[in-house]
Symmetry: C2
Subunit: 427 residues, 2 copies
Amino acid sequence: MEKIKIGLIGLGTVGSGVLEMVSNNQAKISNITGRELIIKTIAVRNVAKHRSEVSDDIILTDNVDDIINDPEIKIAVEVMGGIDPAKEIITNLLNAHKHVVTANKDLIASHGDELARIARKNNADLVYEASVAGGIPILRTIVNSFAADEILEVKGIVNGTTNYILTQMQQKKWSYEDALKKAQELGFAESDPTNDVAGIDATYKMIILSQFSFGSHLALDDINIEGIQNIKLEDVAQAADFGYTIKLLGIAKRVGEGVFAEVAPVLVPSDHPLATIHNENNAVMVTGQAVGETLFYGPGAGGLPTANSVLSDIVSVTKNIALGTTGNTFNNYQHESEPIDKGDVIYPYYLSLQMLDVPGQILKVTKLMMEIGASFSQIVQTKANDTDARVIFITHAMSKKQLATLKAEIDKFDTIELRAAYKVLGE
Amino acid sequence: MEKIKIGLIGLGTVGSGVLEMVSNNQAKISNITGRELIIKTIAVRNVAKHRSEVSDDIILTDNVDDIINDPEIKIAVEVMGGIDPAKEIITNLLNAHKHVVTANKDLIASHGDELARIARKNNADLVYEASVAGGIPILRTIVNSFAADEILEVKGIVNGTTNYILTQMQQKKWSYEDALKKAQELGFAESDPTNDVAGIDATYKMIILSQFSFGSHLALDDINIEGIQNIKLEDVAQAADFGYTIKLLGIAKRVGEGVFAEVAPVLVPSDHPLATIHNENNAVMVTGQAVGETLFYGPGAGGLPTANSVLSDIVSVTKNIALGTTGNTFNNYQHESEPIDKGDVIYPYYLSLQMLDVPGQILKVTKLMMEIGASFSQIVQTKANDTDARVIFITHAMSKKQLATLKAEIDKFDTIELRAAYKVLGE
């Protein structure tokens, strides 16, 4: 049986998973591809540290050129992460006519188009299923199963760390700080959790999902990003009383000829499928013009689930090698989007205000709302402390422009403070 | 741009959806495939009936040979359903070197292997994503994204009619008969609903899912089938009190070197993702050794969702034509399974018994359970009528052999009747 030799760059959780899966599932892979996959070389920073983890017939090196310059290696798997030096390494691999499988979302979200062009020029495959939502095969599903449908919206829970934290806040009544600490202890959050909790990681994934869904590239600056750092337990509890669960959602949807994208905390109706995604799991909901709502759920991270996505990429490349059909762009849908006015996008909002507990305060807010042409569907008032009341409003759909005006006007009152404003998802 | 001409056989809900989608989404399809798709000919039983629905440049015929014998037509789409004459027609199409896209689950479940061989011999594609779970792209996902993983279990809600009925029973407290009547009024159930409510439709889909997941073919006789016709509202309510939702699940799992498959009502924990699938929706949960639990959710039927799956098949075949890679079997995983002893498969069970309300009855049952080596985790007793008590047991995991013995022994008591026994899904 013909052998396909693979070079692996990086041997962390995902790299070890790839190594394990290639050896454990050789029989099934051969059955499907008619090829035997062999990991020939692994490049790591510290060879001594990893020597005992790797069988003796695999070359362990700290020089990635041992993979780039090895004519026997057909497929390189990059699971080191980060933009530098991964970008240069992948560029060199593609120029050396290697097919590249990567799990590197930062790199693909930032430089995916450029790398895809280099791949195409070299008749090489560049695939990256594992870059979004670890174990969920969402990119290939969009490519293969929504090819003839118009995708109207793609949204979901694409960061496991924040979903773990929000699940703990909801289920155990923990504060944000306590839930974050627990997530760090369990290894679900890093010691500097900013990238996750501020929504950056989710935004990179939404950039890639948008590219596949709408055929056009969004820059980081095109996307409103709000993290979960300021979510109060009181808001989680209040949302639950109203029948909602607060989730950090990435939402990208077609608006006219453009695409609106945002990553922010959203109140999701508790019987909506996205509200039932707990802990570190991910889920992506794709709404198609023809097919309607579909949802794809699974582990968002973890060594073996992510390795499975890497392996399906390797199998896909192996099939292309066997069929002589390499060099086709992973996402081959291209569609020019026009800029949109984000201020016009409308949603209902959850507004949490703290105000001096004297007559006339709510009237001020309702008058403001009337002036900007917006209205409420639900109001609840509770005591915040001895002098202040806490008033929660759920509004009817209003535009971001209206919301911005409302915020600016409320800001002028000494006696009223807007403490939180979150979108509300319709059913 | 090169044109790919298509023949459509059948113009019911799905056929009309295919016609609509090809014309509405031509731009995107051409963008992705570099080909223009044209429906040239449609074969229907009654030409006069359909003439007004179809534009004049499409040939409408009642003779399927007009498609089979037309050398211009490259892809035939069969959406007429049923085994005869569909089997003969598809055989003739393949032998005429047409690629075939079908949504025909009965045919594929019964004769898929034979048709796949004919396709291969003629270097033709035979694909059938739409045959299982309408709008959910589950077959291609298993082929592409679980190629390197070992699938341990595939289970799900694969029949929309029964899920609609069970959802109404649960949410509206309707009897089975009332819910079925409503489903018939809304067009979710046929006037003779046997195929759906007795679990036959779900079983065909599980045969196809098993083939893709485990690489081996199950016959209808290999599968225990139990429908929903005998589910009582009292059991739906009692299950809810225990924290479960009754769903008609298809379950196929690897047991040793074999595959166990069953379609039956199952108590699903209410916070399990499968319990949140309402109405006519479908969901398939795939458990992989590496990836863990993944779930794919979407519309299980309907013209446009099913048409979307047909269209993704057409796009896939079109890509293969463009790349010169037709003739590869849709499901290329083949793995010999050994027969298993179904009697050894264990689950917890929900048992509903009616017994004369006199002392010693429950003792009889608990003694029986002890004798067969089984035990209970929960017992609830309520009044059934003036003379009888209703006793519900949730058992610890027990084998089908133990259950059969228990049933036979209870049958010997004049004063005790076993009214229902359903599997319970662990969390």
